[in-house]
């Protein structure tokens, strides 16, 4: 496959040169002037994107519309019907059944995780990029290796470690491993950002006699703001959406996070689909609000989730 990819451009270049440009250039010149994107509408692509819109949109419509319907209405009229008698009863029901307790736990886990990850990845990234020592290279390699560890695969030893630390069924039990597994990507992102800081800036700080701490706070942190916000969003999302660590490492209702709470609602709302879907919608609302106000940071963070 690589070979094909490698050869393609060469092949085309040669044919392009050998054969006189027999085709009219009409399409080319206006595009040159316009600068970006194919100018004429691409109908097949448009059609395909509309099909995808239905595939993505229909379930989202059902998800949101159902939350305003009664259980009987949902069963009688089917999932696609419009909510003719909209009701907020589902929201009432979900909000009064531990939802805020779950949300509070998730907020704590998310905030603490993000804080831990930011502090540790900034210091590690700083050392990796700036420390003049072979150790820092090794450090970087440890984190790169960490990228390949699937968190699910180490859940059993983590369960062992957490019980030995007497942390089982606490929020800290969720926070510690979740933060640890956000570190590799975060270090990678920050090392990349910090590497792009101009050497001369470091030098001028050094000429002023600044120590490492001052360089970090006055130069590195302000210059890496974009990377830090990406890391923050990434680790927060990671913690917000985490499921397996809370599933295995907590037990009591008072320590239940939102994802686990959702899983639990399956039993509680057994056949009450509208109530269950309402819980789902409510769990997405906070992230949706972030999406509305900080779209770019969120997208960057999401790319990080993918393992950027």
């Amino acid at each position: 496959m690589t070979d094909v990819l490698h050869q393609r451009p060469e092949a085309d270049r040669t044919t392009g040169k050998a054969a006189p440009p027999s085709k009219p250039r009409r399409a080319g010149l206006p595009r040159l002037l316009k600068g970006s994107g194919p100018r004429r509408p691409n109908y097949p692509a448009g059609l395909a994107s509309l099909i995808w819109l239905v595939i993505v949109g229909a379930p989202l419509y059902v998800l949101v519309a159902t939350t305003f319907r009664t259980r009987d209405g949902y069963i009688d009229d089917g999932p696609l019907a419009l909510p003719t008698h909209p009701t907020l009863a589902n929201y009432d029901r979900v909000l009064s059944s531990h939802f805020f307790s779950y949300l509070g736990n998730t907020l704590v886990v998310t905030a603490v995780c993000a804080a831990i990850v930011i502090v540790l990845s900034v210091t590690v990234g700083y050392a990796v990029v700036r420390a003049r020592s072979r150790m820092s290279r090794r450090v970087f390699q440890i984190f790169l290796l960490g990228l390949a560890i699937p968190s699910q695969a180490v859940i059993i030893p983590i369960y062992l470690v957490i019980t030995k630390l007497q942390l089982y069924d606490t929020l800290l039990a969720v926070i510690l491993p979740t933060a640890a597994f956000s570190l590799p990507v975060s270090v990678l992102i920050l090392a990349g950002t910090m590497r792009d800081i101009d050497e001369e800036l470091y030098e001028s700080m050094a000429l002023d006699g600044a120590g490492p701490t001052r360089v970090l706070l006055r130069l590195v942190v302000p210059m890496s703001r974009a990377g830090i916000s990406t890391v923050g969003v990434y680790s927060a999302l990671h913690a917000w959406n985490g499921f397996m660590f809370p599933l295995i490492l907590t037990q009591s209702r008072s320590n239940r996070v939102l994802t686990l709470g959702l899983y639990d609602y399956v039993g509680e709302f057994r056949v009450d689909t509208p109530a269950l879907l309402t819980a789902v919608v409510l769990s997405i609302v906070p992230i949706f609000v972030v999406y509305l106000f900080a779209r770019r940071q969120l997208i960057n963070g999401l790319m990080g989730v993918g393992g950027k």
Partner: protein, 333 residues
């Protein structure tokens, strides 16, 4: 650890690749020059490696040590309460002869391959399409990315409801799509297909985003040159877009494959590994053995296998695609 060292060296390309517009070549040159300049200069203002210590210790405690520990636990018998008892290779011979395990490995591999085959073309096309800056594309993209905002748990719950054979969406539109009774989740192939579909629905937006970023980083001048040579949209796609995106394809594929090997939330909620054991992929089997049967030693062996397979597959992908040797897609420009 020789293998581990090269493992560590390989994904290194990933970050530079994630932000392709800089071109890792330029950065490498810059670094080399900086290094040369700094030779003989004293290290004022440079941090010592000890700055990395808190982060490293934390990471070792909760990620590296557990990974080593899973290797140890795989040779023990442990019920989660007492201490693990060393049993030698018992777990491994049991693993080898366990029909559930063989099925799980097969299902995981099948799911991984199918996931790649389904998600890559769609995400690639959508991503390239979304890279255009037209207004309608921006609006549609914003909608396409919405599934990204929800957790696997939330989405699996939604789809569980939608695929309910009695009251779900599938009961309503299933017959039109060729599922007569709509009981997709009760059918072995249907359940696997449902997992494939739901995870694709969930993760294609992420990969679309990755491809969109990659496609936007392709220099416009390449397209302009191709347009002058009279290349149409399709030709441009195959001659410019695709070759230019090869780094992105590798990144996306590694994420996709490792992700597919570890689909757990979706399986647990959507099918519970069923019907029977027909969708019990490796991580689900680990969960079942470990935290439902509390046979944690055996489950560790399954987990160790998962680590080995996940690492091997991503290394293989990186090797096969020559990713490690790759410097820049802009060579020769």
């Amino acid at each position: 650890m020789a293998g581990a060292d090269s493992a560590a060296a390989d994904p290194k390309g990933a970050p530079g690749q994630g932000a392709p517009r800089g071109g890792s070549g330029r950065r490498a040159v810059g670094r080399k020059a900086a290094g040369r300049k700094a030779v003989g200069r004293n290290a004022v203002g440079r941090p010592s490696a000890a700055w990395a210590l808190p982060g490293v210790l934390f990471f070792v405690c909760f990620a590296v040590a557990p990974m080593l520990l899973v290797g140890y636990l795989a040779f023990t018998d442990w019920d989660g309460i007492g201490s693990p008892q060393w049993t030698g290779t018992d777990n491994w011979s049991r693993l080898w002869h366990d029909p559930d395990m063989r099925q799980a490995v097969w299902l995981s591999l099948l799911l991984t391959v199918l996931t790649w085959l389904v998600q890559t073309p769609i995400a690639l096309l959508l991503g390239v399409w979304a890279a255009g800056r037209q207004r309608n594309r921006a609006v549609l993209s914003a909608i396409f990315f919405l599934p990204l905002l929800a957790s696997s748990v939330a989405l699996a719950l939604v789809w569980k409801q939608l695929l309910d054979p009695n009251f779900g969406l599938i009961a309503e539109i299933g017959p039109a799509l060729g599922f007569e009774d709509g009981d997709l989740l009760g059918d072995p192939q249907g359940a696997l297909g449902a997992i494939l579909f739901v995870t694709a629905w969930q993760f294609i937006p992420l990969h679309t985003l990755i491809y969109q970023g990659g496609a936007r980083a392709i220099p416009r001048s390449l397209y302009d040159a191709a347009a002058i040579d009279g290349a149409g949209t399709v030709r441009q796609f195959f001659s410019i877009t695709l070759p230019q995106l090869r780094n992105t394809v590798v990144t996306s594929s590694v994420i996709m494959v490792v992700g597919a090997l570890t689909f757990f939330d979706t399986v647990l909620i959507l099918t519970k590994g069923g019907p029977g054991t027909d969708t019990s992929i490796v991580p689900f089997l680990m969960y079942k053995n470990g935290f439902q049967a509390f046979d944690l030693g055996y489950a560790s062996a399954v987990a160790a296998l998962l680590v080995v397979v996940a690492t091997a597959v991503s290394l293989l992908l990186v090797r096969l695609t020559g990713f490690s040797a790759m410097r820049s897609t802009r060579e020769g420009m």
